[in-house]
């Protein structure tokens, strides 16, 4: 890895460790290997959002040309959000693409992702199914996102109705996550989800 990238990540790492956001447990950063090319980030779901109480793990890959090119970031924790793929965890955020600037840091990236969880942009979606639900049925979107936070990110809100529906599909032989995706995509309409899974 080019010297400048590794050196900068080292400095940034120190900066994040000392930052007040870490003290408040809002963000976390860990090294995955010794060469500073891969890191593990963690952000807390912001208050007053369906992600509240959850912890979301991120995979961060630092290119050799960093900081002249943005880091590659994706969600490892499964999440229901219009700008994040529910399948791959890929993120649609301008500063990770064309709006990157060399003075941005891993700390500002993590804080921007946290802001993205508070303010989705459904008109620039990464996941079309989620974005459609967000625009057409916000309440349904919020309970679905809260349910995913409960299951995958350790969030506090257990949704008995959703869990029962998933169990019914699992009893029919459907894999649990697949059942959750189908039900989430069809606004928790058991009949339509079943139809889609078995057609």
């Amino acid at each position: 890895m080019a010297n400048i990238a590794a050196q900068r990540i080292k400095r940034e790492f120190k900066e994040v460790i000392k930052s007040e956001e870490v003290a408040k447990c809002a963000i976390k950063l860990e090294l995955v290997n010794d060469s500073f090319t891969e890191l593990k980030g963690e952000i807390a779901g912001p208050p007053d959002t369906p992600y509240e109480g959850g912890n979301f793990v991120l995979e961060i890959k630092v290119p050799e040309t960093y900081p002249f090119n943005p880091p590659k970031v994706r969600f490892v924790t499964k999440i229901w959000h219009p700008n994040i793929s529910s399948v791959t965890g890929a993120i649609c955020l301008d500063i990770l693409k064309d709006q990157w600037a060399a003075a941005m840091t891993l700390r500002t990236v993590l804080l921007s992702l946290q802001a993205l969880l508070s303010a989705a942009e459904p008109d620039d979606p990464q996941d079309a199914v989620v974005a459609k639900q967000y625009k057409e049925n916000l309440e349904m979107f919020e309970s679905t996102a809260r349910h995913w936070t409960n299951i995958y990110a350790g969030g506090p809100d257990l949704n008995k109705d959703f869990n029962d529906k998933i169990r019914k599909l699992v009893e029919m032989g459907v894999e649990e996550h697949q059942a959750r995706v189908a039900l989430s995509s069809y606004n928790w309409d058991l009949e339509r989800a079943t139809e889609q899974l078995f057609s």
Partner: protein
Amino acid sequence: MADYFQEMGWSPLAEGEAPNHLLHLVRLFIDYNMFEELGETQRLPPPASIEAVNNLPEVSINEEGKQCPVCLKDYEKGSSAVKMPCDHLFHPECIKRWLTKTNSCPLCRHELPTDDENYEAYRKEKIRAKQRVNDIENLHNCMFS
């Protein structure tokens, strides 16, 4: 009465001058939001013009404890830094490498001129369009408020 060209912020063609078709095309693209559809705004703006970069002034750093926002290293006392028009300072090698990629300040996105004719036409027309909206609003306020 204000002259038509003056009102529109345009200038009439000089004798024997042909219309700038590139400019017309750019105008058409902007009016129909085609740049957005072509993904033009999704792309990083082009590099800063070589001349603009070479003309950036260098200043010497006298205080300690200041760091370059690109590499995050402290400046050595007495070393030189490049000063952007927005007054932001960087190591010469750091900012020059960034400006070969795109034309704006890494801290505040202040734009330097580029050598890319299409981009310059696009930028100029965007500023003009904004100016026109302001002018119309002013006119409206003068008449109805």
